[in-house]
Symmetry: C2
Subunit: 442 residues, 2 copies
Amino acid sequence: MATQITEAKSGNVTEEMKIIAKLEGESPEKIRDRVAKGKVVIFKNIVRQNLERYTAIGEGLFTKVNVNLGASTDHYDENEELEKVEIANKFGADTIMDLTDGGDIDGMRRKVLAKAKMPVGTVPIYQLYYEMVTKRKYVIDFNEDDLFNVIEKHFKDGVDFVTVHTGVTLDLSKKAAEQKRTAGIVSRGGTILAAWEIYNEKENPLYANFDYLLELAKEYDVVLSLGDALRPGGIDDAHDELHVGELLVNARLAKKAIEKGVQVMIEGPGHMPLDQIEMDIKLEKQLTGGVPYYVLGILPTDIAAGYDHIAGAIGGALAAAYGADMLCYLTPAEHLSLPTPEQVKDGLIAFKIAAHTGDIIKLGEKARKLDTEMSKARASLNWQKMFSLTFDEERARRIYRQYKKFEAGSCTMCGDLCVYLVLPRALNKKKYANQKASTENR
Amino acid sequence: MATQITEAKSGNVTEEMKIIAKLEGESPEKIRDRVAKGKVVIFKNIVRQNLERYTAIGEGLFTKVNVNLGASTDHYDENEELEKVEIANKFGADTIMDLTDGGDIDGMRRKVLAKAKMPVGTVPIYQLYYEMVTKRKYVIDFNEDDLFNVIEKHFKDGVDFVTVHTGVTLDLSKKAAEQKRTAGIVSRGGTILAAWEIYNEKENPLYANFDYLLELAKEYDVVLSLGDALRPGGIDDAHDELHVGELLVNARLAKKAIEKGVQVMIEGPGHMPLDQIEMDIKLEKQLTGGVPYYVLGILPTDIAAGYDHIAGAIGGALAAAYGADMLCYLTPAEHLSLPTPEQVKDGLIAFKIAAHTGDIIKLGEKARKLDTEMSKARASLNWQKMFSLTFDEERARRIYRQYKKFEAGSCTMCGDLCVYLVLPRALNKKKYANQKASTENR
C-alpha cells in the first residue's frame, strides 16, 4: 500500500501534502521532503471519509493541540462526549483522542469519528481491557490475537492515529514493578501491558510483533503514536532509567517504522520540573533523528489539581518553544475526574495559548504577527479587532461588558486614565499651546 | 529613623526579620545580611497596625504573588473591592495593591488597609490624577508639592510600599513621545508623569527630588517600588531603548536608596517573548547588584485577552524559575475590564501555581517537597491528603465529586482502569499463583 511516506520517498506530492502546505504556509515540496524523512506526519486514515480539517505535525509546523475525551467505566454519557467533540470543533482542537474505556466503546468511537472535523486517535488496548471485564475474565486474560484484532478494528473504523505502548518491554516492565518511584506507573494502557507481560512471563506483543503492527498500520496509513507507558507520573520520577529506557526502545522502533513506510510519532510526558523540558525535547529529537514529538502537558508541578490546565500550559508553552510538535491538553479535572464539556473548553484554550506562546519562539514572525496586530489594535482602541484576535471572542466581549454597556472607548480597568487617551491628549494640548504662543509672538 | 536596612547594617536582627526567617525557613542572620545589602526587602510601614501576614521578597526566599484591586473612574463599588480583599486573604496573596483611581480613594485605601492581612501597596499618583479631574483641572495641572503631598498621605495611612515612576526622566519621556513602538506607553502612572514632564518642559519630580523621596520613605520604612513607566506593552517592544534605558536609571537610583537606608525594589514588565525572560531577570539582577525584582506577569503573548491569567502564569513561572522575586498577577479581565471577585481568585491561583512551579527550580527541595507528598498521596489513592495539598481544596473536592458521590477509590477519569489498582492487583495475582504453584510442587 502507498502511504504518505512511500509517496514522499518516490518524490510524489500527495493531495494531503498540498493541503497541509497551504495551511502551514510552506511549499508542498518541503512538506513532502519532511514526510519522507519521518520528520512530519499527516493524520489521515485512508478509509476516513469525513475529514474536514487536515492536521500534520512536525518540523517547521505550528504546534498542535490534542483534546482527550471519552467515557469511563464509572460514567458513560454519549451526548456529553459528543458535546465535547462540538467544543473541540468550535475552539480549534487539531486532533481528538477518544479514550472511552467503558460502555459501548465501538459506538462511541464511531460517533466521535462521524462528528469530529479533525483527525481522531484512540488507545485500542482500553477496549480489550473492558472486553475482559464484561466477559468476567481477569483484566489481562487476553492473548496476542485479541490485541491485534482490536487494533485492526480501530484501523478499519477510520481512526487516524493510535497509541501503542511498544516500548514497555518485559525487561522494563519487571524493572518497573520493582522500582522505587514516587508516583509509580501512570499509563493506563501501559499498566495493562506491563501487568500482562509480568503475569504471563512473555515479551510485549507490540514489541515482539512490531513488524506485523507495521503491516497493519501501513494498510490504512494510520500514524502510530508510540506510547510512553513508563512516563513519569510525578516530577520526582522524570528522566529516570525507566522513562529514558523506554524512549530508547521507541526511538529505535520509530526509525524502523519510517524505513518501512509507516508514519510514526513519539509520546512524551507528563510530569517534569521546568528545567528538564529543554533537555527532554532535545533528547527525543536527537535519539529519533527528528520524529514528531507529542507531549502530555507538560506538567511542571504535581500539586495543581483543579487547575492542571494552567500548570500544563506552563510546561506546554516551554515544550513548544523548544520544539515539541503537539501538546496533549489537560483539563481542570485532570487527576480528579472525567472533565465536563466546560472543562474541556478550559483545557483546550489554555493549551492553544501555550502552543501559540511557544510558536512565537519556534516559528518567529509566522506566529508573532498576530501579537503585533493585537498590540496595534490595542493602541488604537479598536475593540472589534481585539476581540477577533482572541481565542474566545464571546468571552472577551462578555468580560469587556461586565461593568460597561457599550463597546467603545477605554475599558473599565483604568477608566478615563486609559494610557491611550492621556498621553495623546497631553501632546495635543502641548502642540496647541505651542501654536498659540507662536501665533501671539508673530 | 531606623529602618530594616539601617538596623541590619548595624548588625541588629529586628522582630520582623525573625518572623520572616521563620516563614522562609532561613536563619534570622541570613535575612539580616541580605536586608543590609538590599537583596531582601520586608514590607512593613512603621505605622501599619494590623499586619497579620508578614511578607518579604528577595534572594533565597519563596516567590511571592501580588494581587491588584481597586475601583476606577468607570466603576466604583466599595463592597466589591473589599470582597476581593477577602479572596486575597483566603487564597494566600502575599501582598495587595489598591489601584483605585476614582471615587473615594482615601476611603477605599483605608478600608483595604484595615481588612488586608498582608502588606498593602499603592500608586499615589493615581489619586493626584483624580484630584485634578474632580477640581475640573487638566489632568497634569499639578505641581511637585501636590505629588509629594499625596505620596506622604499614603505613607501616613500605613501603606507598606508604593510604586514611584522615578525612572521616566524628561529625556526618556521625549524619546517615548517620538517612539515608533507597536504598543506605545502602557503605564498609567508613567503616562501621567511623562505627559507632565513634556507639557511643562521639566524634569521628573521623583527623579529630580529623589533624595527628598528617600527621606519621606525612610521616615515610615516604606518600600519604594521603582515603577517601569516605559515597560513594553506588547512583545514587539520588549527590551528596546526605552525599556532598558529606564531600567538603567532605576538601577542607579536603587543603589542610592539602599545606601541611604531605604528599602527598594524594581518593577519589571509586562510583555516579552518567552526567550527573553531569562535575559530580563539576569539583566535586572546584574545592573542592580541583586535588588528584588517585581514583575508584571510576565506575558509571553499579546493575544490571550480573556485568559491573560494563563498566559501570564506561563511567563511568571519562567520568571520565578530564573529569579524574579514577586509576580504581579493578571486576571482573565486584564486588557478588558476591572476584574470581578471571581476573576481575582482565578488570577491569584494561576499565579500561585506559577510561583510554586518556578520555586521548584529556584529553591529546589524546599518547594518541591510538596510535589513529592502529592505524588505519594496519589499513588496510595489518599484523596484527603491530595485535596489538602491543592491550591483550592473546595474546588478539587467539587471536581472529584462532579460525577461521583463519595470520596474514595479511583476517580472517574479512568474508573476501574485506575493505574494504581490494576498493576498491584496483577502483581498480587501473580504472587498468589506463584505461591500456589510452589505449594503444589512441594
